[in-house]
């Protein structure tokens, strides 16, 4: 759905731009091509790494480490796990819900969901290409700490 909409908008924009000013449109396309070529290799690395992680990670082990008995360590591990994996939210939410039903710690699930969306270790190389190393490290590590804070507050609220 998102894909169709975004292609539609990009196509329409390009057409309108072409009708009004050819030179500017060519400039825009050059921008697109330069950005695409410089990003392609990093994207390939990220995607290949995801293939490995999703193939070799056993889910039984995951559940054991983020159970209610695992305590604070389980919450931290869940946050680390959420930072590393790159799965779409519409897959992650049902997964998190099933972990919760099977006895995972609410704090661990909150930490996992929050770092999943806000922290991206695998996409960090890409983020660095755009915003530099310091920006990327700061944004991701601050988001990680905040995710833990959010998780522990939620543990108190939802008890």
């Amino acid at each position: 759905m998102f894909t169709v909409v975004i292609w539609g908008i990009a196509g329409t924009g390009l057409l309108l731009s072409w009708c009004r000013n050819r030179a500017k449109t060519r400039e825009a396309l050059r921008f697109f091509w330069r950005a695409f070529i410089s990003l392609a290799p990093s994207i390939l690395v990220i995607i290949w790494a995801i293939g490995f992680i999703l193939t070799f990670l056993p889910s039984g082990y995951v559940l054991n480490t983020i159970g209610r008995s695992a305590g604070i360590m389980g919450v931290v591990i869940a946050a680390v796990f959420g930072s590393i994996v790159l799965i779409p939210a519409f897959i992650a939410f049902p997964l998190a819900a099933s972990f919760l039903r099977q006895g995972a710690d609410v704090r661990a699930i909150a930490a996992f969901v929050t770092t999943l969306v806000m922290v991206g270790v695998l996409t960090a190389p890409l983020e660095m290409k755009f915003f530099g190393k310091r920006f990327t490290v700061l944004r991701n590590s601050l988001s990680f700490v905040m995710a833990l804070v959010i998780a522990f507050i939620m543990g108190v609220i939802l008890r």
């Binding site: 908008i9 449109t25 825009a28 695409f36 690395v45 995801i50 996409t123």
Partner: protein, 174 residues
């Protein structure tokens, strides 16, 4: 060193895949199939996003962005960054080129940090999805806590990055 890292990582991944192929061909195939799915997903999203960034770069004057989202834009600029983040859809990596384009046109660092975090964490369809699977209590309390957290992250980043003159050198062109 930064330039060499990508080919090195690619070579490592290729070697690892070959190694897995030698021991467990089925696992190697699984790795490649998962990767292929993600590759197709990224290839379907990134080109139109980059085209839009190109059009934005060619058509929108720097003055406009500076006025709306620059250092002096205050709460209005942050609200715009916030709105841009919530109405958007798609993964975080699609937001990188957009944030970069805004930054180069004069948007403030604080507003871009807020934009990226909001894009990542607070999207209307995603919140609905979270309510559906994890419950209203869980989703809404997480949302209520994430909001101030994002503003705090943006504020801290501004505090630390603006003070450092090396920042400009470390921001490479895409």
């Amino acid at each position: 060193m930064k330039i060499k890292a990508v080919p090195a990582a690619l070579a490592t991944l290729a070697a690892a895949t070959a190694l897995v192929w030698a021991v467990r061909p089925d696992k190697a195939l699984a790795v490649l199939f998962v990767s292929k799915d993600y590759l197709l997903e990224m290839l379907s999203i990134l080109p139109p996003v980059l085209i839009l960034c190109g059009l934005f770069d060619a058509w929108v004057p720097k003055r406009t962005v500076e006025r709306l989202m620059g250092e002096a834009s205050g709460i209005k600029g942050t609200s715009i960054a916030f709105l841009l983040g919530t109405v958007a859809m798609g993964p975080l990596y699609a937001a990188f080129p957009i944030g970069k384009a805004l930054l180069e046109k004069g948007a403030s660092l604080y507003n871009i940090a807020v934009f990226l975090c909001v894009w990542a964490a607070i999207k209307i369809p995603m919140v609905l999805f979270e309510i559906r699977f994890l419950g209203v209590e869980f989703a809404l309390s997480r949302l209520a806590l994430t909001l101030p957290a994002i503003l705090l992250i943006g504020g801290l980043m501004k505090l630390w990055l603006d003070r450092d003159p090396r920042r400009r050198k470390e921001t490479p062109a895409p």
